[in-house]
């Protein structure tokens, strides 16, 4: 099986080829580059599955492909020399993520046939080139074996999101949304870059795995109590970890850098599906999982991750409640769900976080593609109040969308329930000992209710009741290229939970927590990157209410109850033939929610009230002091030159006289020095 890994670079290379082909020849191809993209992602998917099988048979791969710089540097822990490389790390985590990313990318490409080609869009070669580059960047990011390579592709992912969100660049809103996404995530990436530099200069290595990794170096430093840049080792690990987390918060749209994501809905719906399910937003959480060993050494960093996650989960869920645009609701649900993943990671629930990442990828891709299908049905109308009654007219879309909605809301036995419940359970048992985590857990739990509510509000408004407009009465039809991805993802949304039925395993004693075994080195594994290694590092105490089983049942019952309560509330309010807005009852809260807690306003205020004056002051300093010195020098020489040039009369006799006078003066000086006149 060793030979299989030599094909690993091709996983990322296929979409890159598709990118080049679509860009160069897309115009002349029958489907404007779609076929190249579909073939490439299918190839990536196939190879990813081969990798998964290889890892399942007990093999892993960690190798350097290209070394592009070697430097001599004395680092803080005393290692001399640092290598910057491109390498590939295929372990259970990356193999799993490769399959998720390439599967979603493949389905999005297929769906695009119906959504973009079918709807007569122009600029399709550009679109498919963007998708190809996006997939390439994300797959390379997943394959990366060191932090710098991860950073580079992280940036490339950001660039691709910019290109694709701004696909309809002739509108006013899309370019603005693209710029916002780019700038906000770049703000986070700024900290990420500093974090990369800090880690490199501290440990002299950026590898994720092995003896030479920065994770192992940090472990040694903490064990030895080495002082790093004047801080205790643990404090320094926390600081650098949080710097890297800046990039994660930007990309994974966590509070307070989540504001770009709802605006990113300006892009084509297929792009939203790709961004939210498998590429851009998932990159942040994947990075936390990738270097989890590093975060695990800092309880402070973990608590912050957990708290930010829990807070974001609730915060975004409440905003999703009042949105009218079907894509906006999904956007806020994405922010909220990534909050759960961060919460899971933050409490040391590595398996739970990855599990939710996987399930979310499937059901969120499903929901977005379902929304895309609805948008096609509705002739590009996105306002849910203009829909209604689509249930009977588009049964495939309805049933698959419902499966996604049930998974999102966390209703048993759909996949979302199992992973969300596991995240909340992990948060609860740690929370019983840690008040901060308990607060994060409480927020996450409360968000379950809102999730159930907004999810089913969306379903009922879109599909149930009477059609509220003529387009809803006579919807457009959708083809196989739209239905096929929906059916595949619908099945996954229903069944993916089987991967890790932790509650069932605990109750019955059966060994069916496959994902945990997978991540814990039952199959192939890389030393130090397994769940129990991480679990030993995490310093959190765990508490239980009377016993483990009782705690688990209590937590699961609570979250399921809240989800059902949310769904039932939505059912009562909106599952009627002629639903009406109930927002008036919210009073002032409605305005706050509608305006997204004035997040955009305060960030604009920060930019205009703080950054702009600061930039102006810096500009002023530059223009007066710095430029003043430079201009002063030039003014002085100009003035001096103007005076001195008067010596030039243009009369050759004067020059000769000056020459002679100078010669005589020189003679006299030399004579004095030489002592002739003494």
């Amino acid at each position: 099986m060793e030979g299989a890994f030599s094909y690993a670079p091709a996983i990322a290379a296929f979409p890159l080829v598709a990118f080049v082909v679509a860009l160069a020849f897309g115009k002349y191809m029958p489907k404007k580059g779609a076929l190249a993209g579909i073939l490439a992602t299918a190839g990536s998917l196939l190879l990813s599955v081969v990798m998964l099988v290889a890892v399942a048979s007990g093999e892993v791969y960690h190798g350097t492909i290209y070394e592009w710089a070697v430097g001599d540097a004395l680092t803080e822990v005393g290692a001399d020399g640092i290598e910057f490389t491109f390498g590939i790390l295929i372990d259970p985590l990356s193999a799993l993520m490769l399959v998720i990313v390439s599967l979603v990318a493949f389905l999005v490409h297929v769906f695009s046939l119906g959504y973009m080609n079918g709807e007569g869009e122009t600029g399709l070669p550009r679109y498919y080139a963007g998708l190809g580059l996006f997939t390439f960047s994300m797959l390379s990011f997943v394959l990366a074996d060191n932090l710098l390579m991860a950073f580079m592709f992280f940036e490339l992912v950001g660039l691709c999101s910019f290109l694709l969100i701004g696909f309809w660049f002739r509108t006013r809103s899309a370019p603005s949304a693209a710029k916002k996404a780019f700038l906000v995530t770049r703000f986070g990436d700024y900290f990420f870059l500093i974090g990369v530099v800090a880690i490199a200069s501290t440990f002299g290595t950026l590898q994720f795995a092995g003896e030479e990794s920065f994770v192992a170096a940090a472990e040694t430093a903490i064990a030895d109590g080495t002082t790093l840049f004047g801080f205790g080792p643990e404090t320094w690990v926390t600081i650098t970890g949080l710097l890297v987390l800046g990039g994660v918060i930007g990309k994974s749209a966590q509070f307070p850098l989540h504001t770009w994501l709802p605006d990113a809905m300006e892009g084509p719906t297929t792009v939203s599906a790709l961004i939210h399910a498998a590429t851009m937003v998932a990159a942040g959480v994947y990075l936390v999982a990738r270097m989890f060993g590093y975060y695990a050494q800092s309880p402070t960093a973990l608590s912050i991750i957990a708290f930010v996650g829990g807070f974001t989960a609730l915060f975004a869920a409440t905003m999703g409640v009042v949105k009218d645009d079907i894509k906006q609701v999904l956007a806020y649900s994405t922010i909220s769900q990534y909050g759960y993943m961060m919460l899971g990671m933050g409490v040391g629930g590595y398996v739970a976080g990855v599990f939710h990442l996987m399930n979310h990828a499937f059901f969120k891709a499903l929901l977005f593609l379902g929304a895309g299908s609805v948008i096609v049905l509705m002739h590009h109308e996105q306002d849910m109040w203009k829909m209604g009654g689509l249930k009977d007219k588009a049964p495939v879309t309805y049933w698959t969308f419902l499966a996604g909605a049930l998974a999102l809301a966390g209703i048993v036995p759909f996949s979302g329930f199992w992973s969300k419940d596991e995240v909340l359970y992990d948060a609860l048992i740690v929370g019983l000992e840690q008040p901060v985590i308990l607060a994060a857990y409480a927020m996450g739990l409360l968000a379950v209710f809102f999730t159930g509510f907004y999810t089913f509000r969306m379903v009922f408004l879109t599909f149930h009741g009477e059609p509220r407009t003529d387009t809803a009465e006579n919807p457009h039809s959708v083809g196989w290229s739209i239905k096929f991805p929906l059916v595949v993802l619908g099945a996954l949304a229903l069944l993916a939970g089987v991967a890790n039925l932790a509650p069932v395993a605990k109750l019955t004693g059966m060994d069916i927590t496959y994902l945990e075994f997978w991540l814990d080195g039952e199959y192939g594994y890389v030393e130090g990157l397994t769940y129990h290694d991480y679990h030993e590092l995490v310093a959190f105490e765990e508490g239980y209410i009377s016993s483990e089983t009782v705690t688990m049942l209590l937590g699961a019952g609570l979250s399921l109850g809240l989800a059902v309560a949310g769904a039932v509330t939505a059912h009562v309010l909106y599952n009627v033939p002629e639903p009406t807005r109930h927002t008036a009852k919210l009073g002032g809260a409605y305005d706050v929610l509608r305006s997204n807690y004035y997040q955009d306003e305060y960030q604009v205020w920060l930019a205009e009230g703080l950054t702009l004056p600061l930039a102006r002051a810096a500009d002023r300093f530059d223009q007066t002091v710095i430029d003043g010195v430079v201009n002063g020098v030039s003014t002085a020489s100009l003035f001096g030159g103007d005076r001195v040039k008067r010596i030039q009369t243009g009369i050759v006799t004067n020059y000769a006289a000056l020459l002679v006078a100078g010669f005589i003066a020189l003679l006299l000086v030399l004579g004095f020095i030489g002592g002739w006149f003494l």
């Binding site: 040039k645 030039q648 009369t649 243009g650 009369i651 050759v652 006799t653 000769a656 006289a657 002679v660």
Partner: protein, 103 residues
């Protein structure tokens, strides 16, 4: 071969010639006089070269004197050319008239 006169006399002669040339350059306004003065100064240098060559008993100085003569001939050619252009532009060969070749 005997030294007819001490080398210092040649040096004095050369100095005198050089000073006459220099005086001409500093006081005359006629470009032709300029050229002649320059010739005087070059020849002063030649006398020096030959006198010291004779004094030291080798040929180096004489060879250089030959070079100087060739150089002087070339210089005169260029100088006369300049004077011709000067005359064509200013209808005069007064070196103080053209003063525009400055800043």
């Amino acid at each position: 071969m005997s030294v007819a006169a001490g080398v210092e006399y040649y040096v004095l002669l050369s100095m005198g010639l050089f000073c006459i040339g220099l005086f001409g350059i500093l006081t005359r306004r006629n470009a032709l006089m300029f050229l002649m003065s320059v010739e005087l100064m070059l020849n002063a240098a030649n006398i020096n070269l030959i006198a010291f060559a004779f004094y030291h008993g080798n040929l180096t100085g004489q060879v250089f004197a030959l070079f100087t003569m060739a150089l002087a001939a070339a210089e005169v050619a260029v100088g006369l050319g300049i004077i011709l252009v000067l005359y064509r532009n200013f209808r005069d060969v007064d070196v103080t008239v053209p003063t525009t070749m400055r800043w």
